[in-house]
């Protein structure tokens, strides 16, 4: 399961967050609109430039007094300006119509296979799967979806306004406190798509990324099943020590690891943190080393975020990072 994911990841990197490397239904229709607009506008610009150049560099006879105007030229130019204005109106009308029909195409069919609640927080994303499964499934900064199915995202702002944007799949939608929004996305091809907060939300707006991982339905089911499990009890001595550190130190006050006494809700759910591709909202790839670096001094890596530096000695740091990395 990991090997194809890795291949997809490498393939996905090239067009990460590109508006024109489209893999989702909405993004595909928008790309067609973008191409239409850019093409027409380029032609319009080129025409204006041609007229400008011709106007500036043409042979001309001496003018008389500046205020003397030739009525025939004036009439000709009036006709030209009216024609150009009429053409502008026609183009703008066409644009408005095209834009309207694309908007209609974006409202994907009403039938949704899956509903996911996404809460934007300073500066990470909490993700909760509401349907079809009855069982609670909570994760963070990583959204797995099945390929080819409509996925309905309920977008909520927990503190300030954020904006959910995965350019490869769809346009963005704001997460506004007190005004829930929805966005339906559909990935047409499997892959790992990077998204990022697109509305300025404070100190670490730059480090508020997330990933949408589109998988074949079977792989997605496997993922859901594994996520629904509680964390497995550690067997390795180092990992057991790490769990002890995690539960006895302030970590457990903010983070949940299902199956243990850690039930904090302020920070991301860490039940399967070792299985996620990235930690700290797309800041670092998940490895034991990066987990240790993050825990050792989160304020140096992401200044101003809400995770405090918990003083740990080297042994504690090593074992707690081993523990978190083991939470696949």
């Amino acid at each position: 399961m990991l090997a194809p994911a890795a291949v997809l990841m490498l393939a996905g990197c090239a067009g990460w967050q590109s508006v024109i490397d489209v893999q989702g239904a909405s993004a595909i229709s928008i790309k067609q609109l973008i191409i239409l607009f850019v093409a027409v506008c380029s032609v319009v610009w080129a025409m204006v430039m041609a007229v400008l150049i011709r106007a500036l560099w043409q042979e001309r006879e001496e003018r008389g007094r500046p205020a003397d105007l030739d009525p025939q030229t004036e009439r000709r130019m009036t006709r030209a300006v009216i024609a150009a204005t009429a053409m502008t109106v026609v183009i703008l009308t066409a644009f408005t119509t095209a834009s309207f029909f694309t908007t209609r195409a974006l409202s994907l069919a009403n039938h949704d296979d899956l509903t996911i609640k996404v809460r934007g927080q300073q500066w990470w994303w909490s993700v909760e799967y509401l349907s079809p499964s009855e069982q609670r499934l909570q994760t963070a900064n990583e959204i797995h979806i099945p390929v080819g199915r409509n996925v309905r995202l309920q977008l909520e702002g927990a503190d300030v306004i954020h904006s959910f944007w995965v350019p490869n799949l769809a346009g963005k939608q704001d997460l506004i406190p007190g005004r829930p929004n929805t966005l339906t996305i559909r990935a047409e091809r499997p892959g790992m798509y990077r998204g990022q907060c697109a509305e300025f939300c404070g100190l670490q707006h730059a480090h508020m990324a997330f990933f949408v991982i589109a998988e074949e339905p079977a792989a997605f089911e496997r993922w859901v099943n594994s996520q629904q499990q509680s964390a497995t009890d550690p067997s390795d001595a180092d990992v057991i020590a790490g769990q002890q550190v995690f539960l006895s130190r302030p970590c457990a006050a903010c983070h949940t690891i299902r199956g243990t006494s850690a039930t904090g809700t302020t920070g991301p759910d860490l039940t399967h943190v070792g299985g996620r591709k990235y930690i700290a909202a797309g800041l670092l790839e998940t490895t034991r080393g990066s987990l240790a670096a993050w825990i050792a001094d989160p304020q140096a890596l992401k200044p101003g975020n809400n995770m405090p530096m918990v003083p740990l000695n080297a042994d504690e740091l090593r074992s707690v990072s081993a523990y978190l990395a083991s939470l696949k």
Binding site: S18, S29, V81, T88, G171, A198
Partner: protein, 635 residues
Amino acid sequence: MNEAKPDTRDSELAPPALAAALAETWRTPAGLWGVLAAVDHKIIARRYIITAFVFLALGGVLALLMRLQLAQPEARVLSPDRYNQIFTMHGTNMMFLFAVPVLEAIGVYLVPLMVGTRNIAFPRLNAFSYWIFLAGGALLWIAFVLDMAPDVGWFAYVPLSGPQYGTGKRADVWAQMITFTEIAALAVAVEIVVTVLKQRAPGMSLDRIPLFVWSMLATSFVVIMAMPAVIFASTSLILDRLVGTHFFNPAEGGDVLLWQHLFWFFGHPEVYIIFLPAVGMVSAIVETFARRPVFGYLAMVMALIATSILAFGLWVHHMFVAGLPRLGQSFFTASSMSIAIPAGVQVFCWLATLWDGAPVFRTPLLFVIGFIVTFVIGGLTGVMVASVPFDTQVHDTYFVVAHFHYVLIGGAVFPLLGGIYYWFPKITGRMMSETLGKWAFWLIFVGFNLTFFPMHILGIAGMPRRIYTYQPDMPWYGLNMFVSISSLVLVAGFLVFFVDAIRSARVGASAAENPWDAPTLEWATTSPPPSYNFAQIPVVNGLSPLWDQPACLMVASGLRTDRRELIVSTVATAKPQVREASPRDSIWPFWAAVATSVMLIGSIFTPWAVVWGSVPVAVALIGWFWPKATPEDEL
């Protein structure tokens, strides 16, 4: 004092004696008193322009700092906190302390000259406006030096700027700075409206008003309609933060989107407040250097009016991703696109003018050509972001950053620089260097396009705006480095411009009355104009008075020279109605501005400042309006 002097009329005096008498009546006293009490629109406009260009330079330094930070991924040149303050300062400073004031200031300088009067309407309000503007700018920049600068972006969305998430006094400083600059802008707008409608030279009926004056009139009306929305918004933000009201608190019946509606109801017309004066300058420059009147005067005026009306119907296109109803969004797509029609009409008319004219390639015209090239790009990308689906992909990305820099720099700063080269001889009496001017133009034009065009591509590649850094695995590094290096070319161009302006003001070749052979009235007086602008008020018979009557201009006479008199004329046909006395120098606008500033800055910290601060304001206003027992209008 006036009563003691005999009633002398300008018709009774020979030219030298007339000039001496007028100079005595209209002069601004020397020394510190003169500095603080001046009401001459030219002195105040000059201060306004210089101050605004200082803010431009400071804002440019901020932009360079941002480019330094963004040149490399995960750079540590600036902390996120400083970066957020810097981009907020850059936007706020450029919009509120540079673009709007400098364009209004050029209006303050030129409109009275162009309509042929001796001072702007309400000159003391004009003085007050400058001091308030200066205090607002100082407030923002002192806060920046003290590490208290706003860090919430120039549109300060709640809840980020609200009481819960905007800590300290940073957002309050931003909101109160808005109040300062809005008061200043509103004051100028009122003056310009009254000057244009009531103080035009005899004979300058509505269809003979220069296009620049029309554009300032349209701008002023937009200011008067748009600014109250943002004053209300920023005041309710301060109330939320300081007093604990709930305008923007969803839990108590407020709404965070209310802020966005109020802000953009002002914020979008704001773009046209900056753009309209600039197109006025373009028309003036095109007319002079194409050696023929602007083609389609009526169409141009209608386009200005249409733009200023439509400007109020498209604010929602800033909120296309906020989840508003789809149908409403489609309406705003249509209205946003429709504003391209008047813009297009103006571009077509300029092109026609150039086509039929005989262009003289001096620096001002170069800047206008640069304007057409870049502004058309900005306008077309504007049409793109007006489309809802298109906008959902590029909203809040570098594509939008590129778009609005094309519109604001291409659409307003290029004409402004062209305008400075054009009117510099009138303002200082000296010409700017043609060689340095061409250098400045090419460096700015090339540097600008190299800096901002790649940002379109960065936006399409998914780079959001307002991020203080990006990760090395994102494919944005190369272009960002390129943009940062290109920005140095742009900066070099501005440096050449500043050097040229400062050098020319001191040692430039002296300018004649009408060095460019331009058609409008400001060129009918000496360079620089005397304190009374015109020895005798000109009479206008056509659209281009100095081209229509090149040898001699008809003048009106009969004004008193022993007191500051000017002609008040009818709105439509500019028939003289009364002789009106224009106010003399006064220190009270300065004290009123000081008292207002103390009250507004105090109210950042305690609501009681509004109560106790209003006492000195009242005292200053009483001093200002104390009756002088001089006769009012004489028929």
